[in-house]
Amino acid sequence: MNWLERIGSKTTKFIEEIGRICLLFLQALKWSLRPPLGFRNILKQMEEIGVRSVPVVLITAVSTGMVLALQSHTGFKRFNAESLVGTVVALSLTRELGPVLTGLIVAGRAGAAMAAELGTMRVTEQIDALSTMATNPIKYLIVPRLLAGMLMLPILTIFSDAIGIAGGYFVAVKVLDVNPVVYMRRTTDFLEFDDIFGGLLKALVFGIIIATVSCYKGFNTEGGAEGVGKATTGAVVLSSMLILISDYFLTAMLF
């Protein structure tokens, strides 16, 4: 097989995989609309995906906000427009960095765990066991993860927005000596509800991507412990990639 063929078959495989992931998502969506939903399971996943990701999301967001303030201050100082740092920090966090960074972190943390757990269940026949007990594995395993992802990603993003803006404020006001009142006015004047809401919509889509991709990879694990490892890596790589790709289209669509 020459390199051209290899690229071709890789691309076909990739597209095929995306198609299967979409189908899995639609199925999960269908099942999520059929009551009863296992509330206990959803809660458990919300804790797994959401609550446990809070510390790492906060740390990432606060340092991102601080770096943003530091970097943009250097530029704006040359125009005597230091107060615009607030605008830049707020806009880039709410529209872009908040949802994307949260998505990537959750993909690495919760997505990997999800794929590993489901992968293990697949290779030890636990998923088959579910089917034999007249319980649909998609409904029992994927739906709670999907719903939890859809709900928790936006909430984590809100945290990330808020703490990031706070970090930027701290650096700009306490370290770089920007007028705090003007800084906050520049932040609130140019920030609009649609910026925040658009960012949250993005996060919702990222939540869907992470949950669906990780579950897909876990569900399709083959070949024992090694397969579980592969599934885990694959889940993180693919969901991170899809987050970044879809981010472009979401940005073009929403804003």
């Binding site: 809660l43 945290f159 609009e192 509800f193």
Partner: protein, 482 residues
């Protein structure tokens, strides 16, 4: 302290909701329901560069934001949201200004001195147009060109001695002539206005007024005749002047120049020349008739939306169809009429005891039924409230619009006291719909939320046409029929 899983999840969600609401309220520009403050309107010839959310200032102090910009009879109608604590006296005028030569546009309000204050819904006048640079330069150049022609011709006319002498008389004569013309013109204009007014009152009386109109036209031409004969006879200086050809020619061009100056000066009141031809009268009659026919089709002012949509219910695997007609007499008020083809319109249940199974088995039987929605709605900014008949029972609903109305979230509640044991809870429905083209939209949601046996998720889509599209469709259809 050790928190349970429920408590931890609950805490995180609650904190998230709190931060989000704090952020949305501080960034402003977004309020649930009615926004604070009152609304004023202002009409402008042009608002180029002005956007919604642009600032409004009085003496440079921010007092509100531009809410909407709409077109009304060729003018821009701008809705201004003014902070409640700001009181503006009647007679306040509005102007579009820029913060600098390249700065962003805002609206400056020039406070009036009238009795009483402007109330919610009042309309302000546009203040005198501030000279904008382009217009000024344009006007200056035409005026300058005219003056140049006049002065050039005058210089030539004044070159000869005799010309100098006769010019004095000419000027006097022209003054007299123009006064005469003015009188003639005035008479005529009054008559025309009268005629037009009569036409507007009733087209029936047009016949009676027509002779009068003709009479005054005759009168005008007679007067003109008199003037012309005077000139021809060489009476007065003007007559003499006509005899002497050299001076006449020079004067002619001077007159031409003057004429164009006066024309431009008088442009505000209409051109003299036009009044003497039938064209103007014709124009006015046509517009009047058009206005009459517009008034007859009063309905045209209504915004009408017609749509079809379908919802596929996952649980029952059936389709629920809607045909809807929305009449919107005002921007913030609408009536919604819908025919609903409900696959589970009538629900009957039979309960049977099966041997060997604990508890009874209940079977549901559903029949298709046609139902009616008739709702009255009010819209407040991004939120609409609806009340009325929903699927043949009393119901309430609310909509939240986002992204220029592309995304809509709706919640409806109806059927508050149903008798059927399986359908005993109130019928709740949540819908999210997104329109991605002008006519097409997709939607999904959950129907009959708390009646467990009948609850179902649904997804679907539909088409909708607004009146402009309808006019086009009907129009082209009619053309084809011809």
């Amino acid at each position: 302290m050790r928190l349970s899983a429920e408590a931890r999840v609950g805490l995180v969600i609650l904190l998230g909701a709190l931060i989000l609401s704090y952020m949305t309220f501080t960034v402003g520009g977004y309020r649930f329901g009615r926004e604070a403050g009152y609304r004023l309107y202002a009409l402008f010839d042009t608002v180029a560069g002005l956007d919604t959310k642009s600032g409004i200032r009085v003496a440079g102090v921010g007092v509100g934001k531009v809410e909407t910009i709409a077109l009304q009879d060729g003018q821009a109608k701008v809705a201004l949201r003014i902070k409640p604590e700001v009181k503006l006296r009647k007679g306040t005028q509005a102007a579009v200004r820029a913060t600098g030569l390249l700065g962003e546009k805002y609206i400056e309000l020039i406070p009036g001195t009238g009795e009483g204050f402007l109330q919610d819904g009042d309309t302000m006048a546009e203040s005198e147009r501030v000279a904008d640079l382009d217009r000024l330069i344009n006007q200056f150049s035409t005026v300058a060109a005219d003056i140049k022609t006049v002065s050039a011709s005058l210089r030539e006319a004044l070159g000869t001695e005799e010309g100098k002498q006769s010019l004095k008389e000419i000027v006097a004569n022209i003054r007299e002539l123009s006064r005469n013309l003015n009188v003639a013109v005035k008479d005529n204009r009054e008559n025309f206005t009268k005629a037009v007014a009569n036409i507007q009152e009733a087209s029936a009386s047009l016949k009676e007024d027509l002779p009068k109109l003709l009479e005054s036209l005759k009168h005008t031409s007679e007067k003109l005749d008199v003037i012309a004969t005077k000139v021809e006879k060489g009476e007065g200086t003007l007559g003499k002047l006509v005899q002497e050809e050299g001076v006449y020619n020079k004067l002619d061009s001077a007159l031409e120049g003057l004429n164009s100056v006066t024309k431009k000066l008088e442009k505000g009141e209409g051109t003299i020349g036009k009044l003497f031809t039938d064209e103007k009268a014709y124009d006015q009659i046509t517009t009047t008739l058009e206005g009459l026919s517009n008034a007859v089709s009063h309905l045209e002012r209504f915004k009408t939306v017609i749509g079809f949509r379908n919802e596929y219910q996952f649980d029952s695997e059936k389709n629920k169809g809607y045909f809807s007609l929305q009449l919107q007499p005002r921007e913030d008020k609408f009536y919604l009429l819908e025919l609903v083809d409900d696959p589970r319109g009538r629900v009957t249940s039979t309960t049977t005891q099966v041997v060997g199974v604990t508890g009874a088995v209940t079977e549901l039987k559903t029949d298709r039924q046609l139902k009616i929605n008739a709702e009255f709605g009010r819209r407040f900014s991004d939120v609409a409230l609806r009340i009325g008949l929903m699927e043949n029972t009393f119901g309430l609903g609310t909509d939240l619009y986002l992204f220029n109305d592309a995304l809509r979230f709706s919640a409806d509640a109806w059927d508050f006291n149903s008798n059927d044991p399986l359908n005993k809870h109130v019928h709740l429905k949540g819908t999210a719909s997104y329109s991605f083209f002008k006519y097409l939209f997709v939607q999904g949601g959950y129907d009959n939320l708390i009646n467990k046996k009948l609850g179902t998720g649904f997804a679907g889509g539909g088409i909708r046409f607004e009146d402009d599209d309808l006019k086009y469709l009907v129009g082209s259809g009619a053309l084809r029929m011809k």
